[in-house]
Symmetry: C4
Subunit: 238 residues, 4 copies
Amino acid sequence: MCNHTSETDALIHSTDPNHPANLICELCKLFYNNGWVTGTGGGISIREGDKIYLAPSGVQKERMKPENMFVMDNETQEYLRTPEVFKPSACTPLFLSAYKLRDAGACIHTHSQAAVMCTLLFDKVFRIANIEQIKAIPKVTEPGYLGFFDTLEIPIIENTAREEDLTDSLQEAIRQYPGTTAVLVRRHGIYVWGESVWKAKIYNEAIDYLLDIAVKMKQFGLDPAGEIGSEKKIQQLN
Amino acid sequence: MCNHTSETDALIHSTDPNHPANLICELCKLFYNNGWVTGTGGGISIREGDKIYLAPSGVQKERMKPENMFVMDNETQEYLRTPEVFKPSACTPLFLSAYKLRDAGACIHTHSQAAVMCTLLFDKVFRIANIEQIKAIPKVTEPGYLGFFDTLEIPIIENTAREEDLTDSLQEAIRQYPGTTAVLVRRHGIYVWGESVWKAKIYNEAIDYLLDIAVKMKQFGLDPAGEIGSEKKIQQLN
Amino acid sequence: MCNHTSETDALIHSTDPNHPANLICELCKLFYNNGWVTGTGGGISIREGDKIYLAPSGVQKERMKPENMFVMDNETQEYLRTPEVFKPSACTPLFLSAYKLRDAGACIHTHSQAAVMCTLLFDKVFRIANIEQIKAIPKVTEPGYLGFFDTLEIPIIENTAREEDLTDSLQEAIRQYPGTTAVLVRRHGIYVWGESVWKAKIYNEAIDYLLDIAVKMKQFGLDPAGEIGSEKKIQQLN
Amino acid sequence: MCNHTSETDALIHSTDPNHPANLICELCKLFYNNGWVTGTGGGISIREGDKIYLAPSGVQKERMKPENMFVMDNETQEYLRTPEVFKPSACTPLFLSAYKLRDAGACIHTHSQAAVMCTLLFDKVFRIANIEQIKAIPKVTEPGYLGFFDTLEIPIIENTAREEDLTDSLQEAIRQYPGTTAVLVRRHGIYVWGESVWKAKIYNEAIDYLLDIAVKMKQFGLDPAGEIGSEKKIQQLN
């Protein structure tokens, strides 16, 4: 069933650096350098119109090439292009959930250590409040972004042995938290999506910043979701 | 009121890498790589003669281009050039405060995690003393720089829901601390300015170094503003 | 006994970036930038068919050139090429052990600080469980990879004054842990190998990620090998 | 007394990347990226034969150009070349001490945060033992390098208001510790020298690695100079 022909290759070859097949390669390299994807973990998928672009399983994320990409039809969920050698990523049904339930334009999955640490330090939900960077996170259920005084909540789901088996609980978390643009997976990492690839990237950067500073706050005994002024107690101890 | 013409484009196109429109792009990329601006947060503005160059709101700082810049007249505070699509940054009135009250040549705003952590670990004022890097910070009220035995003080103001609403308290902090070249904003970040873009960059680097080492000192129970020898107590515990 | 001739130079000169002599240089530069090899410490060796490529002793890893490489025959263990000036690395017998006992295609040695810290925080064996990144580690004794619920075990051997004297205990550890693809050396670093250079690199990245997050877990009092749910106790303390 | 002529410019212009004036620029950029020099702090000097090359005071280390260099005669200590605009670095007498007392080929000065933290966590001398990376440090008083079981000792001197006033105590420390290739300055940073620029760089990297891991050991209550096995006590606590 290999449909790797010159016709299907036209789907992933473009001189436009903003073509999804090129962007996936560029951004995976960036995420590798940030430490978010390493040792083949993590990935990114982009949907443009009726086509979904997906990186394959088990490849070094910083060394991908456009010809490694899978292309899928968004309606039929059939592969329009299958690269030689490679297998589809186990993340595929999770990425598809973000497209189906949220009409996302891109979905990023990382094994960010800040994300994993927060799934160990928080129980069912990651919460942070009153930090300026929160203002980069969208409200989702209505236009606009969270405010400084809002509390960002990201649900944490339990990990499963096989990545594809996360699909049900990820979808349930998405339905239960209609305002979330991300789901954390305990002892695993995070899924972040957005209306476009650039929105997804910006949300992922802002969320990772918040996860990272939450770990630092915990190290000092500060509550990341604490109200303004709750830090005074810690200041007196130091 | 879009004044985006070939005439106004001449304000931001230059082959000189030191032209403000080029420098803003170069430095924002550097600040992104340093982790100081991420997910569209933070920014930089440069004033050269009677013109002020400003990056737009909500853009990825590492991907800016000269044609994205706003240019404003320093006297009239009217826009000489407005880029297509983009909106002015909410930091604009804060940058203008540094130009008006301090005759600054550039102003940098970051969401540096070291800055945010210090606003949680210090009350009204960040204080550090007896660290060599302090000697990179200017006295401001007179020529020259702080000495090794001096205490660097940076006021911390409370954050507001809308960034532009910080203007009054930022201006008050600038007046109350005539020797400061920076203002910290609680749970938000820092504003640093200088006589020129390079001075502002150097001050920002030196201050960020000091904020960062202050967090590390706090982790060991060391007082960043403690007198020389105060570390002996901690050495005995370890 | 210098066999540095134009004939032997053909062994290390290639325009193919995937030639072992080129890859060693490229990867050592990457490892230097990652902080895994510094001040001439660490290294990498690649075996391709019947030839083993080895970086010399005491060189700056980020500045190596293909002409610095030793080439050895895998059967006879005689040098096919000896570079001018340089001496063979003291790691050589350790790399050869991975080739001999495990038929490895490449072996990486780093002084990663996460590795050294874990040899101080763990006794005879490093153990981590229930972290997604474990799934990048091979089972070795059978095809396939560890599962999420598996415990990764990496033996820790004691360091010796001379690196070559590690050979016996490294070989013993390899025999005692038939499923391991790495050996930690107390107060020294780690050896990681794989079926090919890319496999070795991926394993090394995944293991370093796990060593690094294990240190962070220890900082919060979390047991890296603790069962799922063991983190709840810590969540209640914070 | 400006001797900036085409004749003296020949001292600093070369197409050889290993010419001292080029190397100083390249290495300062590297040190900036490593976080060792920031906000104009730190620097490096190289001696080649009878000429000493020195970076100027107060410049951004990552943006230096060969034409910014001072060149001094090693015998007479007179400037052979003085760049326009710039002033000599206050580090100059300290660099000269390493040349005079140790016949060094290069001297590096950084404000490394690991170095500053160690001057706060250790009293008169920084001590670390039984860590493999120590083997990169030279014995100095005799040929060869420290062994794994040796203790590296680096004296810590007190800082002074003016950098040039460190000269006497730095020289005293060099005389008192004939085996040292570095001196730490409390609340300031470190001076490291070597027989050549590459040796100095390697020693600096290895020492910074050791200072950095010593801070991490202290965070866990581990004694960096503790004997092998002293870590067992901490393992039982965790």
